[in-house]
């Protein structure tokens, strides 16, 4: 298994509180991604990073921010959690893609977040 850990693995919080999820990798991969998984939607990309301090939005980025100050860590922050953000969050990593080739993404174990 790729060296990816997520913390916490489970969290219950209340509406309006800030929440930060952490993804840590030991593979020295350049690319890191945050997804959310909801029934009937597969996984949807929230934000991704293509290097330290380089991030961009995915398809469902509203209400989320990210930061990457070190290669190994990618943080996802919900500034003010809402019940619609109750979901399972997955981090993924991949290496530098060669021209014309998409590198495989490897996924962490997930964080189950419940917003009451």
């Amino acid at each position: 298994d790729a060296g990816i850990t997520q913390s916490p693995r489970h969290k219950v919080t209340e509406t309006g509180t800030p929440v930060t999820l952490r993804c840590h990798q030991t593979e020295n991969h350049r690319y890191m991604y945050w997804y959310r998984q909801d029934p009937g939607h597969g996984l949807r990309l929230i934000h991704y990073s293509y290097g330290v301090k380089d991030t961009d939005k995915g398809e469902v980025s509203d209400g989320y921010s990210v930061s990457r100050s070190k290669t190994e860590d990618f943080l996802l922050t919900l500034e003010s959690a809402t019940s619609s953000q109750t979901s399972v969050y997955f981090c993924a990593i991949s290496d530098i893609p060669l021209a014309g080739v998409v590198d495989t993404q490897y996924f962490g174990p997930g964080t189950r977040l419940t917003v009451l």
Partner: protein, 118 residues
């Protein structure tokens, strides 16, 4: 733009019988295609990957998929189902853009839940 449609939300088979999970994709350029599997309360594991080499791709645990450009399909098959194959399966597409680069942004299908009966 890229998109994926998994044609069946649930598939049920008997142990020892063939498995077919259907996937159609839409892609503007040259797609890379993946199948991932997710066992209950687990993360996603890569089954196999197509990246414009051989159109028949063999993966782990006896699974394989065939890339058919004319049909824009990438169906997943296995000759004989095992109880341990019961899981949710995701078909995934990623475009390489016209400049030949990609940040590896993936688009997931909605998933197919495979049930295997004894």
């Amino acid at each position: 733009a890229q998109s994926v449609t998994q044609l069946d939300s649930h598939v049920s088979v008997s142990e020892g019988t063939p498995v077919l999970l259907r996937c159609n994709y839409s892609s503007s350029y040259s797609p890379s295609l993946f199948w991932y599997v997710q066992h209950p309360n687990k993360g996603l594991q890569l089954l196999l990957k197509y990246t414009s080499a051989a159109t028949l791709v063999k993966g782990i645990n006896g699974f394989e998929a065939e890339f058919k450009k004319s049909e824009t399909s990438f169906h997943l098959t296995k000759p004989s189902a095992h109880m341990s194959d019961a899981a949710e399966y995701f078909c995934v597409v990623s475009d390489v853009n016209a400049g030949g680069t990609s940040y590896g942004k993936l688009t997931f299908g909605q998933g197919t839940i495979l049930t295997v009966h004894p």
